[in-house]
């Protein structure tokens, strides 16, 4: 009798703890998801109500004046990101090809892989300092080029690691088929293996792109920012995140408004990139590969 009651109490306690834990996990999920939704909707609300045509086709008005837009910052971001992609993606893909096709299992490959992970963890502000002392100091002025290189370096590890992973997913038989036809190795790697893995590799590049598109810290003292039109690689250039930052900490309401609008545009670009990636990957990275 007594033992039975003890057992009942105990099972009651156990199921109580079980429910409590479930409840806590659900609570944690709500606590995570709710602010995200809040941030998101507030951003959309604030941003959408602040967007207008001037935002896309005008450059900033002088300090304190109402109106103007971020056209130069949007173009500037495009320029800087183009430089970053041209610098980061080829090196990243090359590194990935080396890891997957040439260095498989070697000590050097492990070291490269580890270094890429280290580079991935380097704070973006440090990347800014590095680009500053590597490019700005010798050139004696801030430039779009320096900003692009800083972002490009940040893209490399992501591109390298995804390229490697995706190449490793290409079945060995496909490589053998190409080699068996007497296709030169470089041709086989580029036209067969890399091409087969290309949806995944593109995914990696997009992710890396989306990640650096919103970076501000590396641009603060490389691209610096610019209130006027500029597309020259040799001069200071504005960028969307930089402009958002400058406006966010400014005292003017109209600039706050534009900061929200800029954030919405930035996020929209990034979300489109990430969803595109999701879409592509969910359709199967290596469709049809046996």
């Amino acid at each position: 009798m007594n033992r039975n009651r003890g057992r009942n109490l105990r099972s009651l306690w156990r199921s109580g703890v079980d429910h409590l834990a479930t409840g806590l996990a659900i609570l944690a999920t709500i606590l995570v998801v709710a602010p995200l939704i809040a941030i998101f909707f507030y951003l959309v609300y604030k941003g959408a109500s602040s967007l207008n045509w001037a935002f896309f086709n005008q450059i900033p008005k002088p300090e304190g004046e109402v109106g103007g837009g971020m056209a130069n910052a949007i173009v500037g971001s495009a320029v800087v990101l183009l430089v970053a992609s041209l610098f980061g993606i080829p090196i990243g893909i090359g590194g990935g090809i080396y890891l997957a096709e040439f260095g498989r299992g070697t000590k050097l490959a492990n070291a490269v892989r580890f270094t890429a992970d280290v580079l991935n963890g380097v704070p973006s502000i440090v990347m800014g300092i590095a680009a500053f002392s590597l490019i700005v100091v010798p050139m004696h002025h801030y430039s779009a080029l320096a900003g692009g290189v800083a972002l490009g370096i940040m893209m490399i590890p992501t591109v390298t690691r995804t390229t490697e992973e995706m190449l490793l997913m290409v079945p060995h038989s496909v490589r053998e088929a190409a080699l068996g036809l007497g296709v030169p190795n470089w041709r086989s790697v580029l036209s067969i293996t890399l091409k087969t893995a290309s949806p995944g590799v593109i995914t990696g590049c997009m992710l890396a792109f989306a990640r650096v598109a919103g970076e501000t810290a590396p641009l603060l003292f490389t691209a610096l920012g610019n209130q006027f039109w500029s597309v020259s690689l040799n001069h200071e250039i504005s960028a969307l995140p930089l402009q958002i930052y400058n406006y966010a900490i400014s005292p003017y309401d109209d600039q706050h408004r534009q900061a929200w609008a800029g954030s919405l545009v930035l996020i929209a670009l990034i979300v489109i990139a990430v969803s595109l990636v999701r879409f592509v990957t969910s359709r199967g990275t290596l469709k049809g590969a046996s």
Binding site: R14, G94, G95
Partner: protein, 380 residues
Amino acid sequence: MTDLRMPNPVAAPSRSRAEERNDSSATDAPVGSVSGEVSAVRGYLLSRGNSAGSDRFFAGAMLLCALAIFALVALIAVELMTQSRLSWHAFGFSFFYKFNVDPITHLPLFWDPVNGVFYALPFIYGTLVTSLVALCIAVPLAIGLAVFLTEMCPLWMRAPLSFFTELLAAIPSVVYGLWAIFILVPLLREHINPVLMAIFTEPGLTHLLGWTGLFGDNGLFGGVNLGLGLLCGGVILAIMILPIIASLTREVMRSVPNSQREAALALGATRWEMIRMAVLRNARIGIVGSVILGLGRALGETMAVAMVIGNSPEIHLSLLSMGHSMASVIANEFSEATSDMHRSALIEVGLALFLVTIVVNAFARILVWAVTRGAPARVQ
């Protein structure tokens, strides 16, 4: 059996013939005539020669790309070291712990670019405190989320929820900062900080627990409530590192084999007991690894923190006080640093940050690797 025929002797003689054939083949070469000695196709392929040179070049170029990754990290390290030499020679290790005392107010003076005082202690303090606050908030939530996603979540919710968390990771730092300035700071100032202040300065509790030093007007939540400050920096960092910790923890939990779960359930464990015994226990090293990886991210996070931390190089116990972090001071002062010493000191702060994040990240990677057995743990 010596039926070894030789329709096409080695390269040289057949090559010229092959080229002729190939050139004329556009008009009416007997393509693929099986009876002929060398078909057009065969001739063409024979003329291609071997690709050893281009293959070697290609392999070399790829190797160069891989080495470039090494070179970049090395270059960054070397640049940081040479550019911070000035401040290193002037202050040495005391850079990280010493301070001057203000002759008038008798308060400690750490960082005064105008008078050439450069000691980095308040930045280290600010970075540590905000990161700790962030971990305290983010770790339980992230683990809860991961447990929910891997063990409890109905299937239809799993994809949208993980997509949402991924999205959270994709939002740029500067947007978080913007949101924090206009939403989080007022929220903390009006609603949350007053409650915390009321609790921590409540006379009874202060009397009871005053010995900890955390209570009262000089305690953890004493001082002026501006909304900005270390607490705000910590909260925004927590939101930012949550998705990283959650997604890695989820990956680690998923690598726990199902047989372990079934074994626990077969012994009559409730679901929570199963999670505790089979999942969390097996994944604990990996979870610690992902938390440390999140810490690495928090230490280096710049913009959002710089926008809400208050930007003043002081050290106060109160989480409501203004502070500065290693990354935020660089972001704020670097482009305005006019003296060489100022710039050099900022770069030294950057170097310290670089080294610390490398150590933290390397440690975390090793832990995560140990659990997922070399499966690459990806952080976006």
